[in-house]
Amino acid sequence: MMSEDIVKLKGTKTGLQISFAPGVTFQAIEKNIKRKLESGSGFFMRGTVVEIAPNLLRHADWERLRVLFRRHGIVFRMSKPSVDKPADSLLEEAAKKKKKAREREVEQMVVVDRTLRGGQEIRTESSVLVCGNVNPGAQIIAGGSIDIRGTCRGLVHAGAFGNSKAFIIADRLMPMQIRIANFIARSPDQPETSDKAERASIKDGQIVIEPIER
């Protein structure tokens, strides 16, 4: 059997759907994937989401693959089982679901319960809550607002998709740059410190920072 046939990958909206040729052992699958990952061909970009149909693998095998993918920065998860529906309502349903999911994501908040370190990035259409610090070199790009329960020293961009009502709050707001919608402000060359939490938002066409109570 040709090695390309052991593991099949299909592009989906969210990333890649993986499936295996029938009757192949897990060892062969794992070896094949490992070779793909290590070939460094750039086929698997970091941050790619790879989905697998549920019940295709035993749990232990699934876990092994997850660890393998994770080592290469790839998210490995089960796809939602699709429910059989009459074909005509299926399209409509899908469109509705997509719209709803999009709305939900915008309303939802991404919670990051750790410190974002240099080189790490959060990119989302919704709002972001960080319970930790945002270190220099880290980036948050959010469609909504950003709330940081800690010190912000990285680059933060709220309302990145045009929402100029978005705002940024941090216990200690001392970022390299603040961006809201299409406005940019950079930190003063002489750093000033405030003991209070601060909030950055757009007022009269520029980014203003004001202390707040919380």
Partner: protein
């Protein structure tokens, strides 16, 4: 029982190899059986710091490729019976070893030694990924300097991504006088950003340079502040609770003597 520790930093020149050599000697001085694994293939230095360059017969690549058993490649330290070095190759490059090979090797070394210290190359590329693969925990070395702290932060993030959550910090080359004057980052600034447990604060000490050139790590010198600081780190690795050293302010006469170059 035995521990595999990787010593890493991201930035080059902050003292990874110096720290590895000193901790290795320090642990051996306490009677522990220690092996130092140099993974900085192509740019090996650890053997120089230990003064063992002329005794190398085989290297890490010979072992991982199965040409010799690891026992044949180990170089025993001339002074400390329980300290061994597994040197790497100076002619190959980092792609000669992969993470699986190093994990297998470290599992073998675990059977024989109390501590396996892995000296990691600078950078976050393949050499780094290989070096950290086998480690139970990581020791991040940094310096009170903005670029070194920034790189340490990145490395801590990378370690987290590789599921290495147990990370400790050593801050090397602190100049107390400069910190006091506010010309150098102090420990609070560093902890503020890195927020991981610090187990070592090593002062900048000329004796580190002279002892390095002699191939005899500074930890074995009784009259060196850096040596004392490294001995404290070794104690903390062994689980002792040791307070951090305070650096005495220079008195007027000491300053005068310094100024006169005495």
């Amino acid at each position: 029982m035995s521990e595999v520790i990787v010593i890493t930093s991201g930035k080059g020149g902050v003292g990874k190899t110096t720290t590895t050599a000193n901790l290795g000697v320090g642990l051996a001085m306490r009677g522990k059986k220690v092996v130092l694994v140099d993974t900085d293939t192509g740019l090996r230095n650890l053997d120089l710091l230990l003064g063992l360059e002329n005794r190398i017969m085989y290297d890490l690549i010979d072992v991982t490729e199965g040409r010799v058993h690891f026992k044949k490649a180990l170089v025993r330290h001339k002074k400390y019976e329980s300290l061994f070095l597994l040197p790497t190759s100076q002619v190959k490059d980092k792609s000669a070893v992969n993470p699986e090979q190093l994990v297998r090797l470290c599992n073998d070394l675990r059977q024989e030694f109390d501590y396996v210290l892995i000296d990691c190359p600078a950078g976050i590329e393949q050499g780094f990924q290989t070096a950290i693969a086998a480690a139970d925990w990581a020791l991040v070395v940094t310096m009170p300097e903005i670029s070194a702290v920034r790189d340490a932060d990145k490395i801590i993030g990378e370690l987290g991504r590789a599921d290495k959550e147990n990370i400790k910090l050593v801050v090397n080359r602190i100049r107390p006088q400069m910190v006091e004057k506010g010309d150098m980052l102090d420990m609070d600034d560093i902890n503020d950003i890195l927020s991981i447990e610090c187990i070592g604060q090593i002062p900048d000490d000329e004796k580190v340079v002279t002892s390095t050139n002699r191939g005899e790590p500074v930890i074995s010198l009784d009259d060196s502040q850096a040596g004392q600081a490294y001995r404290n780190v070794v104690g903390r690795i062994c689980g002792e609770d040791i307070p951090f050293m305070t650096f005495p302010k220079e008195s007027f006469f000491q300053r005068l003597r310094h100024a006169l170059g005495m």
